[in-house]
Structures are given as C-alpha cells and as structure tokens.
Symmetry: C2
Subunit: 341 residues, 2 copies
Amino acid sequence: MVKIVMDCLGGDHSPDANVEGSLRAMDLFPDLYILFTGDETALTGLLKASGADVKYAGRYEIVHAPGVITGEDKPTDAIRLKKDASMIRAIRILREDPSVSAMVSAGATGALVAAATLRIGRIRGIRRPAFCPVLPTMNGGIVGICDTGANVDITPEYLQQYAVMGSMYLQKVYGIRDPRVALLNIGTESEKGDDLRKQAYLLLKETPGINFVGNMESRDLLSGKYDLVVCDGFAGNVLVKTTEGTSLELLKRLRKDMMSDLRSKIGALFLKHTIMKEVQFMNYQNYGGSVLLGCEKTVVKGHGSSRPEAICKCIEQAYRMETGRLNEELTAAVRALYGEE
Amino acid sequence: MVKIVMDCLGGDHSPDANVEGSLRAMDLFPDLYILFTGDETALTGLLKASGADVKYAGRYEIVHAPGVITGEDKPTDAIRLKKDASMIRAIRILREDPSVSAMVSAGATGALVAAATLRIGRIRGIRRPAFCPVLPTMNGGIVGICDTGANVDITPEYLQQYAVMGSMYLQKVYGIRDPRVALLNIGTESEKGDDLRKQAYLLLKETPGINFVGNMESRDLLSGKYDLVVCDGFAGNVLVKTTEGTSLELLKRLRKDMMSDLRSKIGALFLKHTIMKEVQFMNYQNYGGSVLLGCEKTVVKGHGSSRPEAICKCIEQAYRMETGRLNEELTAAVRALYGEE
C-alpha cells in the first residue's frame, strides 16, 4: 500500500479539485490510500456527494485542519503559528507517521518549502531541497527543470546536487536513460555567465554518474535537445513561468484571431482538433506538479491553479517516486558523491 | 544630419542584411548619413549592385575594417588585439568623430558591451550601461526589458538606474507617457525574492520621477500590464530568450500540425492570413534591437540573426534616440537623481 497525505486547502480550486483528483488517482492505483487534511465538514460532504464514501470505503481518512496558508503569510510564521492549517497538519503527519510516504499540496510555495525543509528534513548530504517540474518538448518528450524557486541564493555545489537528483528522478519516474543535463546560461560557450555559472560548469563536467552536455540558452528549453536543465531558483522560476505565460498568451491570441471574421471562423472549424491538440499540449495541468527533490520524504507541489487532472498527476508522480524507491537511491547516490560523511 | 556608423560584419546575414537594412533606413530618413565598416571590396560591390552608389551618393562612406569578432573571442582580447575588426573600428569612429552620434551592430554581444563601456564611456553617474530591448504585448503595445545581459552581477542601485533610463527611453522613442515600471521577481508580493530584489523594491518605491508599480511575475510579461521590466542581466536574458524560443517553437509546431492531414490543410488555407499575422507578431525582426542605455553615445545591438528589416529598425531606434536627445536628458535625469557629483 502507498499512503499519501493530500493538503486540500490553498489551491485556487481547493478543496473540490483536490478531492476529485484524488479519487481519480485511487481509480488508477488500487493500492493507494489517502489522508485528506482540510475542513472536515466540507471534505465529508464532497466525498459523500461523489459516492466515494462507499466506493473507496477503507481507502481514505479525513483529518480536520481547516486553516489556510496564503502567499501573504510569511513562511516561518505560518509554520509556527498556523498549526491548524491543512498544509502544516499534512507536513506533521508526513513527519510523524512512518506509514505515510508522500504529500501533495497546491498551497503557498514558500510555506511548503520552509515546512518541508524544517519539519521533514533533507536527505543526508543534500544542501537544499529543490523543485523539479517537467515541461513537454516539441518532439514529444519532456524536459525537467531544477530548481524553479525553492532556493534563490545558491552555490555551484547546489547545482551539482540538482543535476544528480534530477537525473535520477527522470530515470526513475519518466524512464529516461542517461538524461542529458544542461546548465542554464546566457550563452552556450563554456566560459559564459557569472562566476557561479563558470564554477558550476567545471564542477558539472567532473561529476560522475551524470551526463552533462554543457550550457543551454533558454530559447532551446523546448527543443528536445536536453532532458534536464539545472539553474538557480530565480532564473528557473523565470524560465518556467515565461514559457507558460507565452504559451497561454499566444494561444489566447490565436483563438481570438480565429473568431475575428467569417473566413477565419470557417478555417477554425476545420482546424478545431489541431488547435485543441496545441491547447492540450501546452496545458500544464497535464504535466503534474513540481516534486521537491532532496527531502527525506516525497513532497509534490501542484500549480496553484490545479484542477482535478493536475492533482491526479501530482499523486501519480508521488506514487511513482515511492514505488521506484527514488529517495533510497538518491540517498545512495549522494553518499557515493561525497563518500561516507 | 544624423550620422551613424554601421558595423557590417558579425551577424548571421552580414554584410548583405546590414547594407540592405541601411539603405531602407536612408529611404525613411532623408537626413541620415551612414559610415559602413567592413570589407571594402565586398561593401563597394553590394552598394554598387543595389544602385546605392548613385541613389545615395554623398550620404555614406566605407571604412575598410575586414576583421570579424565572434562569440568565441574573449571580449577584452578582441578589443585589444583585433583593431582591424569592423566592430572595433566602428567603436573607434564613434568615440573619435564628434559628428557621429550612434552605432549599430549585429555582432558579438560580449565584445560590444565591453568595447562600448571601455571605449565610449558611461554617462556620468551611471554605474553600468544596460540593454533594453522591447517586445510586443498582447494588447498591441510594447514592453521594454532592462537589462537582458550586459551585467550579470548587479546591485539594487543598478536596477534603480535601469528604471530611470528605461522609463526615459520608452517616453522618448516610443511615446509612452509615465511608463509603468515593474521589478521582475518570483512573486508579486513586496517581500518576495532574494535580498537584491527586496532592497531594490524599497529603492524603486522611493525613486522620484518613475512610476514603479511593484513586482511582476514572468508569466505576465506580455500581458500589457507593464511598460518596463527591470531585472539583472541573467534573468532578463532568460526572460527574453524564453519568450522568443517558446513563440517560435509553438508557431513551428502549429504550422507542422496544419499540414498533417487534409482537413487541417483546408483549414490552414482559410486561416493563412491569421497565422501569418501571428508569425509577424512574434517575429522579433520587427521590433529592432537592444539599445545599450547609459553610454555617452548611442549603441544599438541587433539580433545576431538580423535581416534587413531588423537592421532598418535598429537604425530607426538610433535615429529616434538622437533626434529625441535621449542621452542629454538621461544625463540630466541622473544628475537630478544623485545631485551634482
């Protein structure tokens, strides 16, 4: 049995999307057990309304924790003061219950990172946990980006660890053999960028067990030439959100243009399936959340705007990390990198 | 008369695109005079072949400087050792000839920044020149981004200066009144980001003469809610290149999909004008180059892949900066910011 805890508050479509997504995941994985944290009355009502109380009886439980943490809350204050918040309660369960192996949340990012780092703890040897979402590439594959915002002040060593953790994650969860790792930089030549990038380049080149292929310019993110991009959390955040923003704005524009005159409307009728394919392609709801790599237990952060399909994907990621024993292998890999500490 | 120097080597389509773009600009601006640096034989041939030797007689001259600087050259070495390079010669002319007010180049970025900073000099009080390209927004406007790669190691004060210079540039060259300035960050709340961003936020809030509206997340770059985004050169580079890369990849994908079956092909016929509109919209060739703000004389960097229309736009930017007396006003604004030094 894989037991996970689902933080049901904090997302734009919480708790409904969280519950519905969870039920879909329970359909997919018969050995999945879920603890829901949130407002007990609301959750009971939702589960009853969907018939889950009968269909999934014995496969879930509800933990009453009605407080919500928002982006306005200072992360450390939130952890200390909002003990009844669904996120903080979920973290506590993850820490204290050895049978619970993973957590999914679509709540405030800063609080989640802080709570995971302070309360769950890091894999021995890992300096900082880091986010690693994946995006679709133009040739039908995916590309992972580590980190996208967990750490804004970093060292070359962090980037090395992101490369090791991300490579293993892509192998375990997405079946990518020998992932091609690139360093995000402002040019492809080896001596580009600031001191951090220059040092990281040299370090990555010498790191055993990863397939470092050099610097990458951000315009090549979706090209399919790379499997994993490592970067500081600020640049990674810009990288992912710009990709998302540009895609959404362009598709919006295109759809508007297609309704602008009769001729376009006729064309749009013929092309509806093509456009829908693109919309689905760029819809981040289909690619799940950002896993937080490097924690002792699995934490997956869903997009704030996650709908049921995205929540379901997040759970799938957590499930595959668990069944793939990712954390055990990460622990071994970090030990190999640094020797016994 | 506005006299500018055009570096005719170093771009992907140099020197042909540089010459053709220059001739278009001479059509647009009857008081424009151009000095071409590059290989004399090649340039003479190109100008003769297009009939420019007759049509624009007395409005240009050729300076023989056949060396090329590439991205592989170390910037400081390039300046020191490649004195016969078209870019270095152009910089020298810009420095030494008081009648020449601006320079356009599509050559290596690093060398151009170094040469401009070391040889041309900064406006008194300006810490570092910075790039400020513009991109189209979804509501038909533009957004400027400063900086996109001139400086990767920066201070809050640099960001303040980018805000002052960029605001004035958008007013003078694009006629935007009271530009809305945003700080690129990983969240919109005031306390987001690293120390640099937090300090910059406070500094920008107190800076007179600019319209600071707060933090911006990269996904909102094209939304039309902001006129100018200030950021460090690394993040700015990621921001712009990701936008460009995502747009190009998406449009490529869309065009491929439209040819995938008969039904799509029919739809594409009806929608050809709409698609072309999008392609034109996202074509950075239409938006000119990155001006380097803060130098004593105007330097405009064209995209390495600039075609004639992009080169022409770069010249137009340089021309408008000159006729708008941007540098004089910048000098006054910097003096006002810091008092007499």
